[in-house]
């Protein structure tokens, strides 16, 4: 499960670029800051490598391990 804090995200899209599984997609609508923030849409593809959480310059992403594992 990927959780993205929309209050911290500034919409730089580094997570979208560096995700090896292409989990993120850009949102169609603007948020209150006027940026297109990424949405973790294809969560079933996520391999929990945590690269997005490590690269996020604004500490907005958390990758949770699934409960059943």
């Amino acid at each position: 499960m990927i959780k993205l804090d929309p209050n911290l995200c500034k919409g730089c899209n580094i997570c979208m670029e560096f995700c090896p599984k292409k989990v993120y997609e850009q949102s169609k609508t603007l948020d209150k800051k006027g940026v297109h923030i990424p949405i973790p849409k294809n969560q079933d593809k996520c391999s929990k490598c945590n690269l997005c959480a490590l690269m996020c310059p604004d500490q907005a992403i958390k990758v949770e391990e699934d409960d059943e594992q």
């Binding site: 580094i14 670029e17 490590l54 996020c56 310059p57 500490q59 958390k62």
Partner: protein, 287 residues
Amino acid sequence: MEETNESPFMKYLRKDRLPNIFCAGCGNGTVLNAFFKGMEMAQMDLNNINMASGIGCSSRIPGYVKCDSLHTTHGRPISFATGIKLGNPNMDVVVFTGDGDAAAIGGNHLIHGARRNIDLTVICINNSIYGMTGGQISPTSPQGSYGSTAPYGAFERPFDLAELVSAAGATYVARWTTAQPLQLANAIKNALNNKGFSFVEAVSQCHTYYGRKNKMKSPLEMLRWMKDNSINKRKADKMNPEELVGKLIVGEFVNKNQAEYSQELYNLIEEKSGNRSKSIKSAYMGD
């Protein structure tokens, strides 16, 4: 886990100051994450870490971290950090500095810190330009790059900071870019564990000034440029200098063991004044 929506690094940050002041996509945040990751890998306690920083974008980092920190004058963080380390040698002192801070105005402090081999961890965030003041050319701007003080391209030769500090006598030197955060975290782990002057150069993106003046407007373009142009040191050692023009050499430059300055100094005090030195030290320690 009670706070489910927060980043794993949020527990080290001062939440009331977030979101941080950096531009969207600035590499400073990535270096900060890599530092926390390296600190976790080195099993260090944040309460025992003292940060020092000078002036610049990258030097604002310690203000966001829940630990003791000094925000000092321009170019002098290594001098202040030397003071902290000699005052309390049990402290782990980390210096966050930028390229203008470390190489331009604080160049002498940097090389003399390395010469003394005092136990500091210096993380230099090198974005190749003066980002805070408006995009002036810094001592590490590559030859031919544009800036607001070089509208026809910089013709000066840049400093190679990792080689400079290696030559000055540091015992751990590494260089990685923000496009390789795991390697950077590993280098920071080794730097924290090393007893002696450790220097980690984190080549970072400043798309707002460096990128905009050099046809890489977005942070993604700058990250792709860094990823495509970085060559590991082991491979670069076998290549000609002509092939390495415009490339970033990354990797571990130095990793050796040598006598450490604060340890030597305290040994000398112990030898010359014996028990008297202990009473002086205990007055500061509070017991």
